[in-house]
Amino acid sequence: MLNRLKNIGLMTLVVSALTIGGFSAANAAGASAYPLKKYDWPHAGPFGMFDKASLQRGLQVYKEVCASCHSLDMVAFRELKALGYNADEVKALAAEYEFPNGYDDEGEEKYRKGFPQDYFPAPYANEEEARDANNGAFPPDFSLLGKSREHLSLFTPWNSIYGEDYIVGILNTYHEDAPEGVELAEGMSYNEAFPGNQIAMAPPLFDDMVEYADGTPATTEQMAKDVATFMYWAAEPKMEVRKKMGLKVIIFMSILTIMLYFVNRRVWRKIKKGDDLA
């Protein structure tokens, strides 16, 4: 009776493993969505650090193109030091913006130049104004998009979607005309990477839209990659210090683990052999 029960269990296990294994592979291949192009990001991997030139170009794209609709609420100018700017350059960057500064004697609003401790000002005063200016759509804040659009998979890392790849995908996969049979709502554009393929944002980048200070040719793909790098930095500004500290912690703890292994073996030597029993 028990053996029969066990055999039934074993059979179930084998049959389900075979069917699930065999048929779900076919399923995974068929159901895959638009495959995002995967880039080799210099900041990826355990030792990857940000490409500072790319970060600076990305900031330029953000300021000259994206910032007219998208806010960057959580980034302060002082943090731009991480992009390779010195203190004076950061001050100058902040001073390009104006901030309200109380009222004058006649009750009129006063303004002052920005300081490094200020945060990037938002293009719209509130969500209603933003929607009104954008055909009802609300351009999302850039501060965390690099992290909130990724899908990481621990056990099937090849299925992971990285935030940077997704952002480049959005910026690079606009179609001038929707494919046959797709009815676009008014004011919408067709985009391969966007879920549902209908995106309220009109194609934002065109070749040579900005003139890079470092002379890099400003192709759409280049600008997309630069702004994606910048956005990932904005979402995870402590990535470099995190990875550097991680290396030290793991080296230290690994050596300690090896030492403790030998300590443990030494402590247990007699007990393991049962010498105390003889």
Partner: protein
């Protein structure tokens, strides 16, 4: 926790010990005064690892609270303030968020070890109960902690899970009253966040209390061991210190390496990306999933067509562990000598992992591409039935009918026999 034979030699220490015998208590609990079976394997490391994780969570949590603001308008920004502006705030927060996951990993292994080696069986039933109480408290604490960053998954996870309690609608308005009590209003909102914050701070200290009871209950019969036989003679036992302190330290050090890999190199892999979008009651995420450690139970919930019975099945799937000591009627504890039991244990584990995998799927997602496509809901129902069948049919039947392998006379004898062979 047991009488102590601790005899301090230093006069000042002795003076203190005579007035508060706390050092003797430590000595007999974690020191040389506690005699443990000599044959504990590395699966026995996970108890002390769980204790370590509890301490890590409390320390990092207390620091996080210094910088956090439990208010719907400020919570999300406060977490980002911790991540960006607070010195090493990213380290504290990533340790706390990944620490929660690793705490569950460690506790799951600890529970499974208890199942495999029969640690729940007489005379350790109350020890087992207290462990399950700790686990239930951890589930509540983990859930409420996930709500605090006030991201999209925080808000919608809280909405889905709290709504489950509305199923207890036994008389007119009862479900609604329960929900209003949980929410502090008519929906998940600021009062909900504030009460969850309060309880998330309180429950870990309740866990500490139950952990103390758990260790107390452990020290009466002493630890179980891989052979599952009682440690009787002096040759069966060795002092906890230095043997198990050395072994636990080695295990802890190795575990910290694993923990560090998550914290420093993939800190967001256990979380959901939507939680980096601020909570918005007007926008429902396309796919609401709980934290990974609830997924098997979430699948069981979804497998039952009726809401009330789904919720009951979900709670029952955990509460059934409380009766495991009586469902299992075997005279032998360890599955080492119970091959059929061991086989079904592994089947149960695989099935539970698969239940967890199904928890991430939409009900109509096709899991097996045959017979017109078998969807996740159907697979979830089959797996859920097996889950309960394991407890209600397989364990009671197998444990009473199985012919077990011969069990060694004593732990010391098994060591001597192994040496003769080797």
């Amino acid at each position: 926790m047991g009488s102590s034979n601790y005899q301090p030699t230093n006069k000042a220490v002795k003076w203190f010990e005579d007035r508060l015998p706390i050092l003797g208590l430590m000595h007999s609990t974690l020191g040389a005064g506690y005699l443990a079976p000599r044959n504990l394997n590395y699966w026995w490391n996970f108890g002390s690892l769980a204790g370590f994780m509890l301490v890590v969570q409390i320390i990092t949590g207390v620091i996080l609270v210094m910088h956090y603001t439990p208010h719907v308008d400020m919570a999300f920004r406060a977490v980002e303030h911790i991540m960006r502006d607070v010195n090493y705030g990213w380290l504290i927060r990533y340790t706390h968020s990944n620490g929660a996951s690793m705490f569950f990993v460690v506790v799951y292994i600890h529970i499974l070890r208890g199942m495999y080696f029969g640690s729940y069986k007489s005379p350790r039933e109350v020890l087992w109960f207290l462990g399950l109480v700790i686990y239930l408290l951890m589930m509540a604490t983990g859930f409420m902690g996930y709500v605090l960053p006030w991201g999209q998954m925080s808000f919608w996870g809280a909405t889905v899970i709290t709504n489950l309690f509305g199923a207890f609608d036994f008389y007119e308005g009862m479900g609604e009253s329960i929900l209003h009590l949980l929410w502090g209003g008519f929906a998940v909102d600021n009062p909900t966040l504030q009460r969850f914050f309060s309880l998330h701070y309180l429950l870990p200290f309740v866990i500490v209390g139950v952990v103390i009871l758990h260790i107390w209950a452990l020290h009466l019969p002493g630890s179980n061991n891989p052979l599952g036989i009682d440690a009787k003679g002096p040759g069966d036992k060795i002092p906890f210190h230095p043997y198990y302190t050395a072994k636990d330290l080695f295990g802890l050090s190795f575990f910290i390496v694993i923990l560090a890999i998550f914290i420093f190199y993939m800190p967001n892999i256990m979380g959901h990306p939507d939680n980096y979008i601020e909570a918005n009651p007007m926008v429902t995420p396309p796919h609401i999933v709980p934290e990974w450690y609830y997924l098997p139970f979430y699948t069981i919930l979804k497998a039952v067509p009726d809401k009330l019975f789904g919720v009951i099945a979900m709670f029952a799937s955990i509460l059934i562990f409380f009766v495991l000591p009586w469902l299992d009627g075997s005279k032998v504890r360890s599955a080492k000598f119970r091959p059929t039991t061991a086989f079904f244990f592994w089947l149960f584990l695989i099935n539970t992992l698969y239940l967890g995998y199904l928890g991430t799927k939409l009900p109509d997602e096709i899991m097996i591409d045959m017979a017109g496509g078998i969807d996740a809901l159907t697979m979830g129902r089959i797996s859920s039935i097996f889950y309960f069948a394991y407890f209600i049919v397989i364990v009671p039947l197998v444990s009473r009918m199985e012919s077990t392998k011969p069990v060694p006379i004593s732990i010391a004898q098994s060591v001597l026999d192994a040496n003769k062979k080797g």
